[in-house]
Symmetry: C2
Subunit: 469 residues, 2 copies
């Protein structure tokens, strides 16, 4: 694809539809929109546009479609697969002005929001109305709800409450040619034509620009309890995950952290709140929630009985707000902590839950074989393990040539176990080279042709998800 390079005429046009202050070509804005939280990648856009309304987006898209200018939508830039990187330059469509919660429909347990609202702010606003929107990615304090929809994000609570896709009822999107449509209806059940809504969720800005989001909500849950269980064997910790489910419990979070993950996070946030004996190899962080506190204590007791069959240390019960907050902060900061320690790559493996122990062993075995060190943590209850590969003492050459072979081997094993390439981070730029492991040509061609239906000229976030041009 040959894209048109933005020239003065284009800038003049953009200034005719957006106020001048929302048409940015200054270095600060270009550099801000050149990267996200994915490794240290940087791709400069040619211009940053900051539309404020659906009509603005429509005018921009119509023009860019006519003039072959690539458009990459951008939320808060917290993505972990490079989905928001404008790798062909063109327009970075900065959605930060779409920051309004438009309508909280308490009667119907629904909210209509713009995509540029910070997820945690949306959640807290809803909570104050007695409503609960569960998906809570680790970056919830800074990420946008629109980015969450685009990547089909998850987070710790997905294990009980599902991921973003399970809450999206309807989307307003702007198509590549500027046309504006709703993808569905604001109803809980829908058997009316093809499910365009679910096609857009997780499509990473390659099929349309999301301008409004209707989410279903549930009643706020009254209580929760948190357990931190230390294991002397990390494989045991992985095995315990399934044991808990097989006993009939569905925790509201079930997180795994290798020792390094927790240790680095404690150092990073300067916490001394947790005793970490030398013989502990991993932890499970287990939350139960519900409306009857006595029942939660009963469930927490039962779960801590169940894990006694493994070689564990002393279980920490957290029932005060401060203790729970401390533990969740440690868990949420693992990613940043690991990344602050070294050059790194993060893989977002996901397998059927019972295969977790095997997955962990495969990761470590490949590490020995290909010479990489990994720190693993993540949403074990979903079978979703983040593998942070730290460069440490690895040579640049090994990092650039040998490591990719090891990662490829890892995904081959993941797919063999019934898993796939990404549980919640998306494919974006950095994972698309592995798509051939999960999909054959027939599947890839279906995806390419669907992309072509929505975006015949290929201007929407080009170079993402599907390999090749």
């Amino acid at each position: 694809m040959q894209f048109h390079k933005i020239d003065q005429d284009d800038v003049t046009f953009f200034k005719s539809i957006l106020e001048e202050k929302y048409v940015r070509v200054d270095e600060e804005n270009l550099y801000r929109c050149a990267s996200d939280e994915t490794e240290d990648l940087r791709y400069l856009p040619e211009i940053v546009l900051q539309p404020g309304t659906t009509e603005d987006v429509s005018s921009v898209m119509k023009y860019c479609n006519e003039h072959d200018i690539p458009v990459t939508a951008r939320g808060a830039g917290t993505g972990l697969s490079g989905g928001a990187l404008p790798i062909y330059g063109g327009v970075a469509l900065d959605m930060k002005r779409f920051n309004k919660i438009l309508n909280i429909d308490k009667r119907n347990f629904q909210v209509t929001t713009e995509p540029g609202v910070i997820t945690q702010e949306l959640q807290e606003h809803l909570k104050s109305e007695g409503l609960f929107y569960p998906p809570d990615p680790a970056s919830k304090g800074s990420c946008f709800i629109g980015g969450n929809v685009s990547e089909n994000s998850g987070g710790p609570r997905a294990v009980k409450y599902g991921v973003v896709k399970d809450y999206v009822l309807n989307l307003e999107i702007v198509l590549a040619d500027g046309a504006v449509i709703w993808t569905g209806a604001n109803v809980l059940k829908n058997a009316t034509g093809y499910n365009l809504t679910q096609l857009i969720v997780g499509s990473e800005g390659t099929l349309g620009i999301i301008t409004k989001i209707v989410l279903r909500l549930i009643p706020a849950v009254k209580h929760d309890l948190l357990l931190l269980v230390p294991f002397r064997s990390a494989v045991d910790a992985c095995a315990a995950v399934n044991t808990i489910f097989l006993a009939g419990f569905t925790p509201s979070a079930l997180e795994f952290m290798e020792r390094d993950a927790l240790e680095w996070s404690m150092r990073y946030v300067k916490s001394t709140g947790i005793n970490l004996p030398d013989d502990i190899a991993a932890h499970l962080l287990i939350e139960v929630d519900g409306n009857h506190i006595d029942e939660l204590y009963r469930d927490a007791e039962a779960i801590s009985e169940i894990v006694q069959q493994y070689d564990i240390g002393e279980v920490l019960f957290a029932d005060s707000h401060e203790q729970k907050e401390m533990l969740w902060t440690l868990r949420r900061k693992v990613g940043e902590a690991v990344k602050s320690n070294s050059v790194y790559k993060e893989e977002d493996t996901v397998v059927p839950r019972a295969e977790l122990p095997e997955l962990l062993q495969v990761i470590k075995k490949l590490g020995r074989e290909y010479g990489f060190q990994s720190v693993c943590y993540g949403h074990a209850g979903d079978g979703n393990l983040h593998v942070n590969i730290v460069k440490g003492a690895m040579s640049d050459e090994d990092w650039n040539t040998k490591l990719p072979e090891g990662i490829r081997k890892l995904f081959v094993e993941v797919v063999r176990m019934g898993g796939t390439l990404s549980g919640e981070h998306g494919i974006g730029l950095v994972q698309k080279g592995y798509m051939d492991i999960a999909f054959n040509d027939v599947q890839m061609n279906l995806m390419r042709q669907i992309k072509h239906v929505f975006d015949p000229k290929g201007i929407l976030n080009p170079g993402k998800i599907t390999p090749g041009p």
Copy 2:
């Protein structure tokens, strides 16, 4: 589209790939596959093929694609929108031999099944293993799980547990040209490319033939209680639905039945189990479920307190197996009962839950205006109301010309309230004429083009979902 009429050469070919006894041109089979449970419609296929393996289906599709022969997949024929009717003749692809549950993966709470398994048999088999697959359409005793996936069916338990789409993890499908693919992976979280799985769910056999289904399961729930609440005003009953949710309760079923629905069902199944005073206009059937029976009694008590604010009769508590079974049978047989009473049409309206009272009033108002009688019942907790329009004394002319105007007006109102054309029955043949009410040309063209990606020659269940040829 000009389709090829099946000739002796085609029959010879089909007999070369399927045993002779699975290539049917006898009247009995042709007539069996000519209709489903939708009104009294009948469209004869030219041939009935009964493949037994994915390879069989692939060979049939490849041949039909090359020879422009339409193929309409058929499950148990319980559909309510004419989705399985071979309106252009051609092949009726009878999936009844796909009747094996292939693998129950208890460790991962998953089942892999063929599409021709009866839903209730699948559920009971899973229950005996301590596993729970919630979606339970009224026809569960005879419908196939493959048809449920194709129509994105619901049922009473959807209100708490979600519909079929919420349980489908992965599908093996045969494309129009005979290619075989899996649509996803057997994982709980997936952010890997476009969601082909959810595109197939509810696509009514127009995008591919489903040959294997992977469902996620949940642990079996131990207890349930059932309440039947009689209301003196049907609009009150609709209003009470939302009052229960606003009080923080999520019943595992919340069904509405107008008086006629229950009365006709009692007559149909010859039941005398329920006292039906003259002043009762409608009932709510409310189920709560969970693992702690004492908590369920508490919830049931609380809900029966809540509904006291309306003008109600005596609440019936059902906690014996026999009583519960009797009530559920009455509810499930409403559809058949109403239909056995008169020529009828059934509409599958769905609105945001809080709009139910308005929906009911609109239905009755339109009935007076267009001269039709309606019996309403359905999954009120989801905002999903089935409207059975009975012909009764209506003249043939009014039935054929005036009524469709009334139904169109009804759907215009439904869409105005934020609802859509079908909650769980699908669009199929009989609702496609109303698609323009819910979708504009841009949306319809996206759907048509997606169809074209999967089925360029338009041989898969032609004439369904999208209006026009």
